[in-house]
């Protein structure tokens, strides 16, 4: 649907404005032939980083050359983030060198030719594409200080063509699809003169097809002479995109091999982790679904519906769809936070819902509060004493028990939440629900941005909940989640959503459609 809208605008724009584009800019159209200054080689030599007595990077040696897509992976806490932060200059290394074109540099962060693209992209939704691109560049003036909007639009259009986007530069970034936003962020990096790109999990929030689109662009940029380093948890993306795979484990590089020789199993083995496909999934265990807990009856949200859906005790129901499909609205409505536009959500009397929110980094937790406070927030009333004051010791004991069970690191529950890595944040948020003990667990994107090992842990946790007679509703744009843990699944698209079908009853065609 979204694509259709964009395509129409392309035609309109094409007729109206293409005569104004000078011929030399036509040459830039499409990213394949984009003239790009060839990236200078980057050599990382024996890079060390310690925090107190803890060695986090223990001698990283890495060569990055123009024309390559390098996939960097490793489990949570392996040192990926620290490596990136050291390269970008946020941390100063304790040893080793960073060479750019053979010259030692303090960091890559202050070099215009190197860009870091993070998961949140750093775009401002309320501003147009042109304004977003201009933020990073020298403005062009008509008469100083009056801006020359026409030439800025022209520059913006050129930058967009660079990544194969044909959008009106006046479009607000907030109206773009997630993949388009990612591409705009990439365009901005190159408009600034970048020829080396570190892409940190920027594709992990995208649905598979959108991620593929972004990866195509990254690959063609690499062909044109850029260096692209892709950091992602998704094995399939690494295998699809990367020319070379680098695996980080305990602060050291354990693998630096051409991707051609690797397959999924080999990679997983290298990460010494469990493949998510083999997560415990015990069909038929338990007594089958029990009492009805939540029922959606022709429910509509702003973006999706009508949805018909039932969650019973002891079963896991899964829905998938692209992030723009309103998938997570269903979660908010199930948890009772948002009222449906039409239809009714029936909740059995006394049934409580707990929610794992979809956007962990912005909505999941309280960065400045302690891990303990983050985990206990939904379960506080149980620790009140006779006069209504919280019994901090009982609370700490319970939280510590759950944190240990989920192996949240660091162990100290008094650490601020923001020191946790993404996977550990997700575990802590799961811990919040385990403390709350709701009847229905509504899990939005339960495995987004977590490593394979944590993913497997989360899967077995969900399976356990189901076996304990809880109802589970999984809303994930990653269809792998659904196949791993859910009894019944359905897809959320533009049309109505029917009662999810048992996984076993789906035909191969339907399954492929979902994937």
């Amino acid at each position: 649907m979204c694509m259709a809208r964009v395509d129409r605008s392309v035609h309109k724009r094409g007729r109206a404005t293409s005569p104004q584009i000078p011929p030399e800019e036509h040459r830039l159209a499409g990213s394949a032939g984009a003239p790009l200054p060839e990236a200078r080689p980057i050599d990382i030599v024996s890079l060390h980083k310690r925090f107190g007595s803890v060695s986090v990077l223990r001698g990283i040696d890495l060569q990055l050359r123009a024309g390559e897509v390098v996939g960097l992976m490793g489990p949570n806490g392996a040192g990926k983030s620290t490596l990136l932060k050291t390269l970008s200059g946020l941390y100063s290394p304790d040893g080793g060198q960073i060479l750019l074109g053979g010259e030692p540099v303090r960091s890559l962060g202050d070099r215009p030719e190197v860009a870091f693209i993070h998961q949140d992209l750093g775009l401002i939704d309320e501003m147009s594409i042109t304004d977003n691109l201009r933020l990073a560049q020298r403005p062009s003036y008509r008469v100083w200080p009056l801006l020359d909007h026409q030439s800025e639009d022209r520059l913006a259009r050129r930058a967009l063509q660079f990544v194969g986007l044909a959008l009106r530069p006046s479009t607000k970034v907030g109206e773009l699809s997630p993949a388009e936003k990612t591409l705009v962020a990439i365009a901005r990096a190159f408009a600034r003169g970048a020829s080396t790109l570190f892409v940190d999990e920027a594709t992990s929030t995208l649905a598979t097809s959108s991620a593929r689109r972004v990866i195509e662009v990254l690959r063609s940029l690499a062909r044109a002479g850029a260096i692209v380093v892709l950091i992602t948890h998704k094995l399939s993306e690494i295998l699809e995109a990367a020319d070379r795979v680098v695996v980080l484990l305990d602060g050291q590089i354990v693998t630096d091999d051409p991707a051609a020789g690797l397959d999924r199993e080999a990679l997983v083995a290298k990460m010494r982790s469990v493949d998510s496909r083999h997560a415990p999934r015990d069909d038929g265990a338990g007594d089958g679904p029990g009492a009805e807990l939540v029922r959606f009856e022709q429910v509509r949200s702003q973006r999706c519906g009508p949805v018909t859906l039932t969650v019973r005790a002891g079963e896991a129901v899964g829905l998938t769809g692209t992030p723009g499909s309103g998938l997570h609205d269903i979660g908010l409505m199930a948890a009772g936070l948002v009222a449906p536009v039409a239809g009714k959500v029936h909740r059995a009397p006394g049934v409580r819902c707990g929610l794992v929110p979809p956007h962990r980094e912005t909505q999941g937790g309280f960065n400045d509060l302690q891990v303990r406070e983050n985990m206990s927030i939904s379960a506080l009333p149980q620790w009140r004493n006779r006069i209504g004051l919280l019994d901090g010791r009982r609370e700490s004991r319970h939280v510590a028990g759950i944190a240990a069970r989920l192996s949240v690191t660091p162990r100290s529950p008094s650490a601020p939440f923001w020191v946790l890595s993404g996977g550990n944040k997700q575990k802590a948020i799961f811990g919040r629900l385990l403390l709350q003990q709701p009847d229905v667990f509504v899990l939005c994107e339960p495995t987004r941005g977590v490593d394979v090992a944590t993913r497997a842990e989360i899967y077995s946790l969900i399976t356990q909940l189901r076996r304990d007679g809880r109802g589970v509703l999984v809303l994930s744009s990653d269809a792998e989640d659904l196949l791993a843990v859910c009894d019944r699944i359905a897809t959320v698209g533009s049309g109505p959503v029917e009662e999810p079908e048992p996984v076993g009853a789906l035909s191969t065609g339907q399954l492929e459609g979902i994937l």
Binding site: G52, G364, L390, G392
Partner: protein, 415 residues
């Protein structure tokens, strides 16, 4: 809004790097020690800075500065401003700026004095009405900020003007004071704000005794596993005796108790209640969560609208108490009585983020920070510096407190 709790302490330490196996223990210990050292250094730094200032004052002014009675008098005179700081800190914890506290306090001063003098109400009725008015003022702020989603600065700036205006209309633009031979304020009301109105020593000693017993009970229950109960009890006993000795010999506790005015006792009582409410109740935790990330709080089931409303109501009520104390102390009401308290109130609240508790707004930190601020200023005044410098000092302390806490909290922290 930048009003979220400001994390202090050097944070060049992503603790998520803990690896498995035997490394894990080392990681945790190392990390904890680094964190502890960072925090102690950080928190001690602010306190030490104040102690150095006071030591310098001691050398410079001697008994003119180190005089228990004078120091408590300074605190006594600042009680309205410290109460406003408490009103402000509750809303700051919820992530809101309440700029209307001085307007509420001014209005409360006029009504608590004027209703008795001009209208002839019984003082008790006036006090009750003023407290109800403070709650209503908080509800009005909440209606604007929570209900109508008006920007919190604009909304509370506007209501501040509104309350000041109401005061002006009520008094006809001038001041309200006790006329010669006219109606007088009752004695009990004047006692609240007068330094001569001392809190009963037996009451103070009882409260101190209860606090010691409760503290001791808590400490006994926190016995580390490697110590036997008698050893631990002995240690606790020694600690209590040592603390008592320090309190009496260094802090002159009995002299403090003798000089404790009703206003200061009221301040301590309000702070104590707020400390329990904010730090030790479900509501307090929800308040912090709302201030830290209101979307996340809402998603976990916290009723953020209700929590924010309650914060404004508490702020309004405490501001009204500040106005009552002010009216009692002055025995009259002037249009600009409370206006100059806004800056010191915010300075004390923000000082609490660097004083202790790792960068959060903190009730006792606010009281202590405010008291330190007053002493720093009074020391200069008794040393001969003109009192007009007070606002310069308050402004500088406010700015440096915020600057220090944000500088330390940004290190390595994702924004």
């Amino acid at each position: 809004m930048s009003s979220g709790p400001l994390t202090a302490g050097r944070r060049d330490r992503p603790a998520d790097q803990a690896s498995s196996g035997e490394d894990g223990g080392a990681v945790r210990r190392g990390g904890a020690i680094t964190a502890l050292r960072g925090r102690v250094l950080q928190e001690a730094l602010t306190v030490v800075a104040f102690m150095v200032i006071f030591a310098v004052y001691g050398g410079w002014l001697g008994g003119k500065f180190f005089n228990v009675k004078a120091l408590i008098l300074d605190v006594h005179n600042t009680v309205p401003s410290l109460l406003l700081a408490l009103a402000v800190v509750v809303t700051l914890i919820a992530g809101q700026f309440d700029l209307s506290v001085t307007g509420v306090a001014t209005c409360a001063t006029f009504l608590s004095v004027g209703l008795t003098i001009k209208q002839g109400w019984p003082e008790a009725a006036a006090v009750v009405l003023v407290l109800v008015g403070g709650v209503a003022a908080g509800l009005l702020n909440a209606l604007l900020v929570v209900g109508l989603r008006v920007n919190t600065f604009i909304a509370t700036l506007g209501t501040n003007g509104l309350f000041l205006g109401i005061s002006a209309v009520y008094s006809g633009g001038g001041q309200v004071s006790v006329p010669l031979g006219g109606r007088q304020l009752p004695g009990w009301f004047s006692t609240i704000g007068a330094f001569t109105g001392k809190c009963w020593p037996w009451l103070t000693w009882t409260v101190i005794a209860v606090a010691v017993v409760l503290g001791l009970r808590g400490a006994l229950a926190r016995r580390p596993a490697r110590l036997t109960p008698p050893v631990w009890a002995g240690l606790c006993g020694v600690a209590v005796v040592a603390a008592a000795a320090v309190a009496e010999l260094v802090l002159r506790l009995s002299e403090v108790v003798d000089n404790l005015s009703w206003a200061v006792a009221l301040l301590l009582a309000v702070a104590c209640v707020l400390w329990l409410v904010v730090g030790h109740t479900v509501f307090g935790r929800n308040l912090r969560a709302t201030g830290a990330n209101s979307t996340a709080a809402w998603l976990t089931g916290v009723r953020t609208a209700r929590v924010t409303t309650a914060a404004f109501v508490i702020g309004g009520a405490v501001s009204a108490v500040a106005g009552i104390v002010l009216g009692s102390a002055l025995g009259s009401a002037t249009p600009d009585a409370a206006g100059s308290f806004l800056l010191p109130a915010f300075a004390a609240a923000f000082l609490s983020t660097v004083l202790f508790s790792s960068g959060r707004f903190h009730v006792w930190g606010t009281v202590i920070g405010g008291v330190f601020l007053v002493w720093v200023g009074q020391g200069l005044i008794s040393g001969g510096v003109n009192f007009t410098w007070m606002d310069v000092i308050n402004g500088l302390v406010l700015i440096s407190a915020v600057a220090i806490s944000t500088t330390f909290s940004r290190k390595g922290r994702p924004t």
